[in-house]
Symmetry: C2
Subunit: 130 residues, 2 copies
Amino acid sequence: MTPQRAAILKVLTESHDHPSVEQVYELVKRTFPMTSLATVYKAVTLLKEEKEILELGFANESSRYDGYKPYPHPHLICVKCQKIIDTEIGLINNLTQELADQYGYQIVNQRVDFYGICPQCQQKKDDVLR
Amino acid sequence: MTPQRAAILKVLTESHDHPSVEQVYELVKRTFPMTSLATVYKAVTLLKEEKEILELGFANESSRYDGYKPYPHPHLICVKCQKIIDTEIGLINNLTQELADQYGYQIVNQRVDFYGICPQCQQKKDDVLR
DNA sequence: ATACATGCAAAACATTTGCATAAGA
DNA sequence: TCTTATGCAAATGTTTTGCATGTAT
């Protein structure tokens, strides 16, 4: 565990805003200016395998990472400001069970994202209309 | 609407196995051997914008497309054979409502994937152990 | 004629890899 | 010393784009 790898992990576990590799790289460079992007990618790949961070991959945009709650859980993604927030909802277990029962799958993982407009961006819309 | 664009749409709407662009390209080439990959990409981009097909994007693998049920719905993805199947489950609306209530989001879209082992692959595992 | 679709090649972008160097146990 | 991490550059794979050509209304 080298200093910059510790710094990478620290950024990931302390960020609640699901940073991309590029964002992690920028933050780590503040304390370790010599750090290269490849090193961040390598560290993230390892952390992902060890399940210390959760990867949220998207089509044609950079993956974002959750080191704060590194287990599968539903996310809310704002389509206006791109903010991603964690959720904790009870019904997800019921849903998993319903699927397992209905289709005979042994569920081992999940990826549940809801896209919407966050309260702040709804407010902004009101401002414009006023 | 040119012949190969019609062929692309036909492949996408008639496939239930969520093909990738590459797979669509291979299928379309059977009837239109001159077709280029770029043309398939361009057609898919258009169809996606018109919401005639649904894109399922992943981290570091090709997007797969659903032209058979081109509206957001939960998918079951087998981690053994990579098969993707459509689901229709009742609880999803409850979940959406719970999130909207709890976090104040106006939900506009969803991406719900459950990863698991399909019944066929569970069977294969049994075969090996027997 | 005019607009749009096509096909090829090149570009763009995120991510991974090879390899020589550097550092830590 | 020996293993592993680093940093740079090059390679990879997917998707997009520019542009000249072709096709259809």
